[in-house]
């Protein structure tokens, strides 16, 4: 039914009804404390965060056209925001249609993971383009030029919008202070440590604002951790500052590498869920076998950076390997990173396959337990 309706009605219609239903309750109940119940073999699916903003060729897509018009002064900022809202609704729709349990807003409004936050914090300016890790994606470098401070909510409006329009629970995502610092430049603080901790204090206010807005689960993205492992003590210190007074369920999401050398210490961090990338961080397969995984594992097992579609069998085998080590009721299955590295059509198929593969694996697990 829904698929048959014209896309243009999407915005007016809104996508969602109230965010309830057994599956949603399952997602909420699961975190952080697993409760043994009859659905314990039902694995939860989620995403890391971003999602393609434009459709496949040849159409430029309404978002891209809108940005161009906005830059030429042919569109007001309010009109651009309206288009972003529409595209956000489509990103939500894709995730919901695919059957993903815990979704994001697709981060349609993010210029990039750094700029989105740095632009709205005091004390940071935005510098030139830099390559984002080992991708062919670029971001603008944030530079600390003064005392860093949180001024106003950055992502609360976006979270509220997504929640209002999603039948599934929504997970707001915040780029972590360590990654912001490592991908940024410090031209103000005496030490790198002070820079990281200042960002942690500022983002703590953002997490608190999200908590106040009713977020039940918040994800902190820290891909830089995999690249700067030697700084783990500082990272751990920053995480403590970051989550101070934040009582929602919290996800620490790493990607683009493994956590070899930081495990099992990582399990002591104040997060209920730890996200690991098992594609770029293939060593994580061995790492998690070294000590009991005492938290919920968000396992990134579908390659978010290659178009090749994993088969249901491959996903099943990967999940089986995970559940040999971590109980199924403490596993969330996800792509290895944000899906914006893929063209829209492929990203959508990855979501579908994620759910298809995970459901098949849940069935298989049920068979084993019965």
């Amino acid at each position: 039914m829904r698929g048959a309706q014209p896309r243009s009605n999407l915005f007016k219609r809104g996508i969602a009804t109230a965010p309830t239903g057994p599956r949603n309750d399952l997602v909420k109940d699961r975190l952080p404390v697993p409760e043994l119940c009859e659905q314990e073999t039902q694995l939860i699916t989620t995403v890391v965060g971003n999602y393609p903003k434009i459709p496949d060729m040849p159409a430029p897509g309404k978002w891209r056209s809108a940005v161009e018009k906005f830059q030429k002064g042919q569109l007001t900022e309010a009109e651009l925001r309206q288009v972003e809202d529409e595209v956000t609704l489509e990103a939500i729709q894709d995730q919901v249609d695919a059957g993903v349990d815990l979704i994001t807003d697709g981060q349609i409004r993010w210029e990039d993971g750094q700029t989105h936050f740095a632009r709205r914090l005091r004390g940071l300016s935005i510098n030139g383009l830099q390559r984002y890790f080992d991708t062919n994606i670029y971001f603008r470098e944030p530079v600390a030029e003064g005392e860093i401070a949180w001024v106003e909510p950055i992502s609360v409006r976006d979270f509220e919008f997504a929640r209002r329009h999603s039948p599934r629970p929504v997970k707001p995502v915040v780029t972590g202070p360590f990654t912001l610092a490592r991908l940024g430049r410090n031209a103000y603080y005496q030490s790198g440590r002070e820079f990281v901790l200042a960002l942690a204090r500022a983002l703590n206010a953002e997490l608190r604002a999200l908590q106040e807005a009713g977020a039940e689960i918040i994800q902190v993205d820290e891909p830089a951790l995999c690249r700067y492992k030697q700084e783990y003590p500082l990272f751990a210190e920053a995480m403590t500052v970051l989550v101070d007074g934040v009582n929602t369920k919290k996800v620490l999401c790493t990607y683009f590498g493994d956590v070899d050398g930081m495990y099992p210490q990582l399990l002591q961090l104040p997060f209920e869920v730890i996200g690991l990338d098992f594609v770029a961080g293939y060593r994580n397969w061995d790492v998690i076998a070294r000590a009991p995984f005492t938290k919920t594992l968000m396992c990134g097992i579908l390659d978010a950076r290659n178009t090749r579609l994993e088969t249901v069998d491959e996903i099943g085998r990967a999940i089986r390997r995970i559940t040999d080590v971590v109980p199924p009721d403490r596993v969330m299955v996800a792509p290895s990173a944000g899906l914006e590295f893929l063209p829209h059509g492929v990203a959508k198929r990855k979501l579908q396959r994620l759910v298809e593969g995970t459901r098949a694996a849940s069935q298989a697990l049920k068979g084993v337990q019965a």
């Binding site: 393609p52 496949d56 030139g128 080992d134 994606i137 670029y138 893929l342």
Partner: protein
Amino acid sequence: MSLPLLPTTAVGSYPKPAYLLEARRKFLRKHLSKEELTELERRATREWIQIQEDAGMDLLVDGEQYRGDMVAYFADEMEGFAIAGLVRSYGNRYYPKPVVVGPVGRRHPVTVEWFRYAQSLTSKPVKGMLTGPYTIAEWSFNEHYPTRRELVLELARAIHQEVVDLQRAGARYIQIDEPAIHTRPEEDFDLAVEAMEIVTDGVGAYTVSHICYGDVPKIYPAMLKLAVNQLDLALKNEEFALLETFKKSPFTKDIGLGVVDAHSHRVESVEEVANGIRRTLGVIPAKQIFISPDCGLKTRTAEETVGKLRNMVEATKLVRKELTETRNRGIAETRTAPR
């Protein structure tokens, strides 16, 4: 024709004029024939050759008016690729990302005709312009080869054939762009070096590799192992911070010195550009330096591009003059010195 001291050149791409952008859109919608599009691409190429000559540049490029994207262009012309779709690069900039779906290889020479055409328009030398195997592999999805290594080396053999064909067509300067080379320095920089050895094996032409955006200090001085005569780098983007890196270990190849920022709208003044060159002269000898923009200029407006090229040439002339005066003074002083 030999090049002067501090030859001025460019990295590769220039912006496409409005009529060409419009034509490309029409072509995509099948409202324009391939022949009509090619005619406009040739017109734009002629215009850019003329602009470079007027600016007084020494070593020209064809401006890549016939390319959409530096990787997709080669993928389109070669075996084994499909285009997966558009992927965001930054802001609202997208590029069509290829996917390797079968064995890769050349069907026919890819760039030779355009090189011939551009060279026929000018008496100044024109560079042959290729995208390197490591970058093509890195910026494509790979659904076919079990390892990146196999894909990179197979592409290196194909690009080598293209280098040989360009040389045969008269190219004396051939640039092999590897902007992705420092993507995974710990993991496979050696692979990139091995691939470049295949690409330039037995080639007599002067070879250049353009490398940009990324952690250059991380691959320095290892990058000097690349089998090319010149490394072309973006210096202006970080206000010549790389010079500190080059002070630690001498720059043993020629350098293509990026002196104007390819991603800022501001046209740097002659004095500002000259200062960048002067600072570099304290670290790298003049005879090893080519002067160029940081990167391809296709994202700038035509006006910005022309402004940047002009000031780059004027600044170079200024510094050349200073170098000649210093040398003459040196000679004069030697002559008048008491025996």
